[in-house]
């Protein structure tokens, strides 16, 4: 008999072009709460999906109670006793608590569902988790805390030996977090092992027995909680060397192009204020879900805003749609290239002029010669690899698609260029070309704002950095400040203070 209830050994998972997990390992003892942390993209989600059978590892073994298992799908993993409460809950809000708990595991009396028994069992399970609720009520009538308990009840009901909780506290209030921790300790006392994924260090210190750190798809370290400190955890998470893959060039700092004051979106952004200058790249750092994308979408008029003021070049603007934002001289390259950046079924030619039909029309009609000329120009300067501008964009590689998006926005002739995760999912060569476009823009006096979850990219390219967390700006750091390093920026992203 193994000392671990679930053990993953030597797991490697490759996706086209990336190694998501590289000889990864994790092991949970029965009746233990194991913390799991890592930066964005460290491989936490992939690791969870391998354990729950959503993905199959290319190499490596999974043992449950010492017995080797192979999971071809999530059902097999569940049958072996592994359950997961995902960050995005799988709750059918209109169905009753009972229905949610017993979905697919119905108790029947003959041909019919036996609701009397199911309601009773549901009530019992919820009570054992410290929740006295009416199981006949729709799940949506309860708060997030109780909805999460319903997910946990599902896990308890299938006799889970191990429960993975993927950032369970991210959407909970203080009281609910307390209740959740109580429940975790209760589950622990029943001998269930828990993997507790969190972005909040204080929770790990309060709850966990041991903490495992992973980074860049690799296992870094596991220690009992009393052998970790705040600083040692952060160093373990970020500790990688900066290679010189960033051809940073400097512009001349100009006027304040964009000033944001108290930008608020209920429940998402809390009085976000910052300034961005011409001739500079402003980096926006923070964890996934810190509110960076929401901030720039709000500025761009893509989403409605509940409060705050925006000034472009010193003049207050009231932007209610992307059209108005473009007229004010703002361009936004969204993080989701395929979903909101390109019309994949259209040609390169059409995509390039999508934000600048006006500049490419003469009278009523589109100016074919002008379109052809600017299109060819972009293919050359951006080095888009394609036989012609009549190719369908969906057929291009990720890097070339990103260059088409960039070309589209260069055509819009903006003053403020916002890049949201501009190098995500593109190869190293194309990344450098994207950096060079940014260099060119700042050298021409334009203002660039770059959201990136890659710390080296933030440090490599930014003139100034703001760090966000929970919809708020936590810190603002200049390139020549002593705080301009991975550890300090990460500390701010994880809620720490950067004061002396």
């Amino acid at each position: 008999m193994s000392e671990y209830v679930v053990e993953l050994k030597n797991a490697t998972k490759r996706f086209p072009g990336v190694v998501a997990l590289n000889h990864m390992q994790i092991a949970v003892k029965p009746g233990e709460i194991l913390g799991l942390i890592g930066e964005n993209g460290a491989g936490k989600s992939t690791l969870i999906k391998v354990l729950t059978g959503v993905y199959q590892a290319d190499e490596g073994e999974i043992y449950v109670n010492g017995e080797k298992k192979v999971f071809h799908n999530p059902n097999e993993s569940a049958a072996a006793g592994i359950a997961c409460v995902y960050q995005e809950l799988n709750i059918e809000k209109l169905l009753s608590v009972t229905d949610n708990i017993f979905i697919n595991k119905w108790i029947k009396k003959g041909m019919l569902l036996d609701y009397d028994t199911m309601h009773k069992r549901a009530k019992e399970v919820m009570l054992s988790l410290g929740q006295d609720v009416d199981p006949t009520k729709p799940a949506g009538t309860f708060g997030m805390g109780i909805q999460q308990m319903i997910e946990i009840a599902k896990a308890v009901l299938i006799d889970a030996k191990m429960i993975i909780m993927d950032e369970p506290t991210s959407s909970l209030g203080e009281k609910e977090v307390e209740q959740l921790m109580k429940t975790c300790r209760e589950l622990k006392s029943r001998g269930i092992g828990i993997i507790f994924v969190s972005h909040k260090l204080e929770e790990l210190f309060e709850l966990c027995d041991r903490v495992t750190v992973i980074r860049d798809g690799e296992y870094i370290d596991t220690r009992p909680i009393d052998q970790w400190t705040n600083d040692s955890l952060i160093t373990a998470m970020v500790g990688r060397t900066l290679e010189n893959q960033f051809p940073k060039e400097f512009g001349v700092k100009g006027d304040c192009f964009l000033k944001v004051e108290g930008l608020t979106v209920g429940g998402v952004l809390d009085h976000v204020s910052f300034e961005a200058y011409g001739g500079q790249i402003l980096g926006m750092s923070g964890l996934v879900g810190a509110g960076r994308t929401e901030t720039v979408r709000a500025i761009f008029g893509a989403d409605p805003v509940d409060g705050g003021k925006i000034y472009v070049k010193g003049k207050e603007v009231h932007i209610r749609s992307p059209k108005q934002a473009i007229q004010a001289g703002i361009a936004l390259l969204t993080e989701d290239r395929k979903g909101s950046g390109l019309v994949l079924a259209e040609t390169i030619r059409t995509n390039l002029i999508l934000s600048s039909f006006k500049h490419h029309s003469s009278g009523w009609f589109l100016d074919e010669n002008k379109i052809e000329k600017t299109g060819q120009g972009h293919i050359e300067t951006l080095r888009i690899k394609t036989p012609s501008i009549y190719e369908i964009v969906g057929q291009l590689s990720g890097g070339n698609q990103q260059k088409v998006v960039i070309g589209k926005w260069l055509n819009a002739d903006a003053d403020i260029y916002i890049f949201d995760e501009p190098t995500r999912g593109i190869d190293v060569g194309a990344k450098v070309e994207v950096y060079n476009v940014m260099n060119e823009l700042v050298k021409n006096g334009k203002c660039v704002i770059m959201i990136s979850s890659e710390m080296p990219e933030i440090l490599g390219m930014s003139d100034r950095v703001i760090v966000m967390r929970g919809g708020r700006v936590m810190a603002e750091v200049d390139r020549d400040s002593k705080h301009f390093n991975q550890e300090d920026l990460m500390k701010a992203a994880w809620g720490g203070s950067l004061d002396e």
Partner: protein, 331 residues
């Protein structure tokens, strides 16, 4: 390589039309008589008007199921006004076009400002509203004796070949050329395709997609009104109960056969013209072969299902081709 010239009509669609014509010519010697040909063109014209508006909506990944009822409503509105003593044909037609356009505008507004879900349901509701309204304004009566000018579009012919070339089809040819240029060569035209291909990307590129959609539905209403005026000229009457006829499905079929897709972003005027001709030839063939009208309905229904099925097959084949091309490029 696929330069989008000539509208990208599938060769197969043209071939289907040719084969159908050849078969009918063989099966019935009357098919190629000048009179029959002109009759087909006349029949095509009505559907071609409705299909123009339908195409715009389909390109945006929407649909307008109220076009048929809207056409009949506009015809009935003219009838009611005539009965009420309006004698100017020009005035009647202007009112009809304004009314049809307004109904389309309502459809667009429901979709874009009140954020109703897919226009399938809201335009289906509008269809019933217009059907009822058509009966109400005419008091459930058929109305005839329209002014000459109103009947001009549907009745007038040019020359004497086969009883004369219908003016309505001439108007359709001009309309289709203008719309083809509009869709392929103007900013608004290209915006319609882009909105259908990726609504969010288009909106974030600074195009007011709500206005683009409203424009398409308004145009659809205006085209329906023109169809209504044509129908008055062709039959000499307006009849509210005609609003339940499957005009909408004929228009959808013409677009889909012509290469439009329910997923949006695709479709051309030339393809839609071929599609409308196929539908008209099919209906004409049934009549020539004296096939029972109930059987006609069955066959036409199956043709529409087949067209949608072909759309799905086409999409999955294209996706596969794209995948293979991308894979080939990666190596």
């Amino acid at each position: 390589m696929n330069k989008k010239m000539g509208g990208g009509v599938q060769l197969g669609t043209v071939l289907a039309l040719v084969i159908m014509c050849a078969f009918l010519a063989f099966a019935n010697r009357n098919f190629y008589s000048p009179g029959n040909i002109m009759g087909i063109l006349k029949q095509t014209a009505f559907n071609a008007f409705l299909a123009t508006g339908m195409l715009l909506c389909l390109i945006t990944a929407g649909i307008d199921l109220s076009v048929g009822a809207n056409a009949i409503f506009c015809a009935c509105l003219m009838g009611a006004l005539k009965e009420a003593g309006v004698t100017s044909g020009i005035l009647l037609m202007i009112v009809a076009i304004l009314a049809g356009g307004f109904m389309g505008f309502l459809n667009g507004t429901l979709l874009t400002r009140l954020h109703l879900p897919h226009p399938f349901v809201s335009t289906l509701g509008m269809k019933n509203v217009l059907w009822g309204a058509a009966l109400v304004v005419t008091g459930n009566k058929m109305i005839n004796k329209f002014p000459e000018s109103v009947q001009f579009l549907g009745r007038q012919t040019i020359g004497s070949f086969g009883g004369g070339f219908p003016v309505s089809f001439l108007v359709i040819i001009i309309l289709y050329i203008v719309m083809h240029i509009f869709l392929s060569r103007t900013a608004l035209g290209r915006s319609i395709y882009c909105a259908g291909g990726n609504m969010e990307a288009t909106r974030l590129s600074g195009i007011n997609t709500a206005n683009v959609l409203t424009f398409c539905y308004t145009m659809s209403g205006i085209m329906a009104a023109l169809g209504g005026i044509l129908s008055v000229g062709r039959s000499g009457i307006c009849n509210g109960s005609m609003a339940t006829q499957p005009y909408d499905t004929d228009a959808i079929a013409a677009c889909i056969i012509g290469g439009a897709s329910f997923t949006g972003g695709k479709g051309t005027m030339i393809g839609t013209m071929i599609g409308a001709l196929i539908i008209a030839v099919l209906r004409n063939g049934f009549t020539l072969l004296s096939i029972d009208s109930s059987v006609q309905n069955i066959v036409l229904g199956l043709v529409i299902i087949l067209a949608v099925f072909m759309d799905v097959v086409r999409a999955s084949m294209e996706a596969k081709r794209r995948r293979l091309a991308a894979a080939a490029k990666a190596h």
